[in-house]
């Protein structure tokens, strides 16, 4: 062998030996059980990480596109436990205590949780949450502090969305609230539409692993029929009225009778929806009523039934006129008392009003006349009309939690069973039913059925959803006719009679320049011991303009203290509401409207 080749071969041998050593070591690493265990434990944890894909909950808008419910960004602040050591622990605890304002012991307990990366172990912990729902400002403070202090590096944060209601208490009763799922109102009823399913999956951290990332569609948004400005005004008027009259609660509903659109639904109480669910529900306490624990309804307009009183007389009049039992000119001799089915019924003032036509009966709200009117209609026909007005059923409005109370009638005489002590229908009940006692309904039921009189005899399905923004397009709700209990002519006649009765008595409900139709209602409140003296439910229903109704308003004040009479406490409220409605809805006075119509 030539000498110069020896060095060449030596270098070659050295390279080969080195390569063999590397290969040997690689094989050793691959087959060594210790390395195998480490790679299983550390490698898999590092490669696959669980990830939740949060769906964005849809927004809720008013009819003009003002946001009523949206989402805001909040952060979850915590520490990466594997980075916490004895050298930085104290500094992290001090910083987070000052930042979050939490008790130092609590923060310490959260930071000192031992790091346990094995998900199979009981105390698996890699990240410890110290503070939830942190603001953007807090996160910025952390980022700024970390620039100058490396010891704070283990502090980290994750952003997420939180349901937010920009107007806090506005429309709380109809919006409902969201806390992991929707409760009450629109949030509860449309929960499945507003939210989409969240997905959780394991994501590979290995950049070579190409994987499909689940695409979570955003929740659909809902545009309501509610007008934010009208809602705010109604709530302002209602709150002030409750304070002035000493009422225990109140409800105002404004509806478009032609479409069934709810323009406003104000009730009390209304919680700040940006609080947490416990705090919200604390504003609706449980009360003892007649020995029963009753939770304050979240939305009285749809959840609380009550005896409406004289506003119910509109149905009796409509039934009597539509069936031909009476005409507006029919005269009735009011003696101030009537006995029916063993029950003696008096007028509200215990007075006798002599000869009255049907408008006079409505104007003076005469109970005795109403009983006579129902009798003239005949029991069978009277209840057929009440059934046609859907008094015995829910409205099925698109709000969560609507309630109803069984309606005692010839077709449903024993809804509470055959127990002789249970309430049941008997012939004499036509008396109180004719003037709205002995029948329990929700305000939404009342306004929906009464709106038929303002809408040519047609009951429209009440609804709060104007449109749904879904799958990249807007789907509008089509108004639906639910029933036609009376003829259009009857509806016009009733409206005319009620408008005349307001004018004849120079009611405080009137608004100069606008012809309105309306009816007061003062009802006694039932209890297991009979009707409670000195306490009433004061209601009012009114609509306008009388010749072409654009709104119908239903007001209910529970147990007003300043006066028990609806004509005293509620009529002025109706007037104030209409004063504002005609401005907010751009409805000119009647004479201008007529002029405009003639110009067109």
């Amino acid at each position: 062998m030539r000498r110069e080749l020896i060095r060449f071969y030596l270098v070659g041998i050295a390279i080969i030996l080195f390569s063999i050593t590397i290969v040997f070591r690689l094989v050793q690493i691959q087959t060594d059980p210790i390395f195998h265990e480490i790679s299983e434990k550390v490698g898999n944890q590092a490669i696959y990480k669980p990830k939740e894909f949060e769906a964005v909950r849809g927004n809720i808008y008013d009819r003009w596109g003002n946001l009523l419910a949206g989402n805001s960004e909040v952060y979850e602040i915590g520490v990466n436990l594997n980075q916490v050591s004895e050298s930085n622990k104290e500094e992290i605890i001090n910083f987070l205590t000052i930042l979050t304002g939490k008790d130092k012991a609590d923060v310490k307990a959260r930071v000192e949780i031992p790091y346990q990366p094995d998900p199979m172990k009981e105390k698996h912990a890699v990240f410890s949450t110290v503070y939830r729902n942190a603001s953007e400002k807090m996160v910025e403070e952390i980022a700024s502090a970390q620039k100058t202090n490396r010891a704070l590096y283990p502090i980290t944060w994750n952003g997420r969305l939180q349901r937010t209601y920009p107007d806090h208490r506005l429309g709380a009763n109809l919006l409902g609230f969201y806390s992991s799922e929707g409760f009450f109102g629109v949030e509860g009823f449309y929960d499945n539409i507003l939210s989409t399913t969240e997905t959780s999956t394991f994501i590979s951290m290995n950049p070579y692993d190409v994987m499909e990332i689940p695409e979570i569609p955003q929740g659909s948004s809902i545009i309501l029929t509610v007008d934010r400005e009208i809602q705010a005004k109604m709530e302002e008027i209602l709150d002030r009225t409750i304070e002035n009259t000493g009422s225990s609660s109140g409800t105002v509903i404004v509806m478009n009778p032609e479409t069934g659109e709810i323009l406003s639904m104000a009730t009390t109480p209304r919680a700040d929806l940006n609080l947490n669910s416990e705090q919200i529900l604390a504003e609706y306490p449980t009360q003892k009523i007649d020995g029963f624990d009753v939770q304050t309804p979240f939305n009285r307009a749809i959840m609380q039934t009550y005896e409406p009183g004289s506003v119910f007389k509109v149905f009796t009049l409509a039934a009597a006129l539509d069936s031909g039992a009476v005409t507006p000119e029919t005269e009735f001799l009011d003696t101030g008392v009537v006995n029916i089915g063993g029950m003696t019924i008096y007028n509200w003032d215990y007075g006798a009003w002599g000869y009255q036509d049907m408008t006079g009966c409505m104007q003076h709200s005469l109970n005795v006349c109403m009983v006579w009117m129902a009798q003239q209609t005949t029991t069978k026909t009277f209840y057929e009309y009440l059934t046609a007005f859907n008094i015995d059923r829910k409205t099925n409005i698109d709000l969560d939690g609507e309630n109803s109370y069984p309606f005692l009638s010839p077709s449903n005489p024993t809804p509470f069973g055959s127990d002789p002590n249970a309430p049941r229908w008997y012939e004499g009940m036509i008396g109180p039913h004719s003037f709205g006692q002995g029948v329990s309904v929700t305000p939404i039921r009342m306004i929906t059925s009464l709106a038929a009189v303002a809408n040519d005899g047609r009951i429209m399905a009440p609804h709060i959803q104007k449109a749904v923004v879904q799958d990249g397009r807007i789907r509008y709700y089509n108004p639906k006719i639910v029933a036609t209990p009376i003829k259009p002519e009857t509806a016009h006649t009733v409206t005319e009679m009620l408008a005349n009765s307001l004018e004849n008595e120079a009611s405080e409900a009137m608004v100069p320049g606008y012809r309105l139709a309306g009816k007061t209602g003062t009802a006694e409140i039932p209890s297991p011991q009979g009707y409670v003296a000195g306490q009433t439910n004061a209601s009012f229903v009114g609509w306008g303009p009388a010749d072409d109704p654009k709104f119908i308003v239903y007001i209910w004040l529970e147990k007003p203290q300043s006066s028990i009479w609806s004509s005293v406490v509620v009529s002025p409220v109706f007037s104030e509401i209409v004063e504002n409605l005609v401005i907010l809805m751009d409805i000119p006075p009647d004479h201008i409207r007529m002029e405009m119509a003639s110009n067109q």
């Binding site: 960004e73 920009p166 950049p207 070579y208 190409v210 545009i223 923004v469 320049g513 006075p589 002029e595």
Partner: protein
Amino acid sequence: MNKRYTQAHQQKPWRLQIQRFGLVLLLLVVLVLSFFMNLNFTAKAAQAGVQVRILEAERETLIRTISANSTKLALLTSATTMKNRAKELGFVPATRADIEYLYIPNYIGKQPEAVTIPRTVNEQDTFQMVPAFTQSIWDWLYQGTFIKLDTEGK
């Protein structure tokens, strides 16, 4: 008459050595080239993978930010805030006496604000990953073989 020709001489040994050495070198160069190409592609793939993760995280953040910003805007224009701002600026609510109605032909009245319509997620539009992105070369070879065998009915 058949004539048979034979090589009169062999190539010189040094030429043969150079040829063999050249061949080995060529193989080495090909190996090194393919190694660097592999390194280059995998590095690019890794970079792209990381980029996808970053973009995905950014997209999530942006979705949250967009949603949060529209709520921030709504907070700034809430009914109470607007009422207070109007009050501060000296505005008072209009009464019937303040309003004069005018007849304007073809006036269509107040129009709602445009509501943002989110992008549709259709089945057809969603990203369907082709197997080539996830298959290793062995998967591809095995699968190819089985498909071939299947088509031949064996």
